[in-house]
Symmetry: C2
DNA sequence: ATTCAGACTTGATCTAGATCAGGAAAATCA
DNA sequence: TGATTTTCCTGATCTAGATCAAGTCTGAAT
């Protein structure tokens, strides 16, 4: 496993809270459309939104530090967020969160400290819903409760899948499957753009940037062409034959 | 990562279902005492129990195969269960489940296929609650809903912790922390018994049995004595100084 | 444009941990 | 009780991937 030492930290120094603005009604439909909020009663939704704030953050801002109390449920409205963890001077990327979805739901539910830190990767708009409101409405609204539990089960299954990926596959196999997943996500076109920097992808796959670079070269025989952050898969079936994708690991929707 | 090929399989061949017996009322208090069932209305509990079966299984029986539809929520009443996953001829231990707790809750909730297989490690008594009953009662009983979501959040956080363990620590560090956790679990005595076979521990920690053996030797300088499955920690503080245990990884209760 | 910092690559090494090959000890079974 | 199986240990290799040390390239700032 890659035990990279942290060589630099981004956007740190000032843990000063950005001034947040109450959520404007214009954003309501966007949040309401989230699976998590679509099945609840209007009055409960509005009561949740009353306490909710929305803020746009610049890139590389640390929104959450692991160990902090979980005061807010976060919803990514735009941009992208990296969840990461540190121990003993090492750091690893745990996941990348994209719109529109929540993060650190489990900590909110349990009223327990965050297990992961979060930073913006790009300019991102985040809705912050007070955790205690979430817990209160959970007890009142069965539709919301159902949605929460489904979302949480989904999150759980995603982590299990990535653990399987990590423990059962070599880094070359992990990368191959990652590329197939991304390709599917972008409509199955032969060419697509990597949605994150390679060094973060490396951390996510549990390897060093150097080795990711070599892994890309290792996939050339299977029809993978790399040009900066543009990937072309010239021989889908050949790559799939090598990668052996599996619904119980790679299907991130069930 | 350890990509062990499966050399043999236990208790397989016959996927014949063991005949299950309806749950006797004498077991009700035991299940009722579970955090998951303690807060629900009596009538809902009884209605759940009506459809519940209890069965004692011999060791090395495969209860669940990954990919199967999730028909039952399982509760371990006694014994112990190994959750494991396979891909491309490799196998890895994902977790060990001990009484009294549930497993594959997420699959039950989502009505999705199991992501992990399960086998008994020893003679084990299991309660099987029909998944659709669980989902039905969830919608009726707020106390049960609350308990489910808490349990699920707990499971999620446990997997996150073990992922951090896996990605951020060397195998020696993982083993050291594992030993400290076990010691705490058994009341903090200097000497305790490993609750599972070493080869399974190896798989859980993502390494080969050979390397686990060497890892134990590597911990001798930090005051770890091994005698079969009996472990003695002669210098707790020295071991802890090396292991650097962390509440955000090693505290399995929050 | 020029400079500069950070991202990425490439090659040369190093190392943690896997694999292979025995053998000892323990558990299971006849 | 001895025979057989399985776990566990130990040493000798091997290898995937980390680390180290230059590079090049890119994109933003002056």
């Amino acid at each position: 496993m890659n035990l990279t030492f942290i060589k630099f930290r981004h956007g740190v120094g000032e843990p000063k809270r950005h001034v947040t603005k109450p959520m404007p009604e214009s954003h309501f439909p966007e949040v309401r459309g989230l699976h998590l909020f679509s099945q609840m009663a209007d009055e409960h939704f509005l009561s949740l939104m009353r306490g909710t704030y929305v803020q746009t953050f610049p890139p590389q801002i640390e929104l959450i530090q692991e160990g902090d109390p979980s005061d807010f449920l976060h919803v990514v409205l735009s941009g992208s967020i990296e969840l990461f963890s540190s121990w003993n001077g090492r750091e690893t990327t745990m996941a990348i969160v994209r719109p529109v979805s929540t993060f650190i739901l489990a900590a909110t539910i349990k009223d327990a400290p965050y297990l992961m830190s979060a930073r913006t990767l790009e300019k991102s708009r985040i809705a912050l819903i007070p955790s205690q409101d979430v817990r209160a409405v959970f007890d009142e609204d069965a539709g919301f409760a159902r949605a929460i539990v489904t979302e949480l089960a989904q999150c759980y299954r995603s982590v299990i899948k990535s653990t399987k990926d990590l423990k059962l596959r070599s880094s070359l196999e992990q990368l191959a499957n990652y590329l197939l997943r991304q390709q599917a996500r972008f409509g199955g076109e032969a060419t697509f753009i990597l949605p994150i920097e390679k060094r973060r992808l490396a951390s996510q796959l549990g390897m060093t940037p150097e080795n990711l670079s070599r892994a890309f070269k290792g996939l050339i025989p299977y029809g993978v062409e790399v040009n900066g952050n543009s990937i072309t898969i010239t021989d889908q079936s050949e790559l799939a034959r090598f990668a052996k994708p599996n619904v119980l690991i790679d299907d991130f929707h069930s």
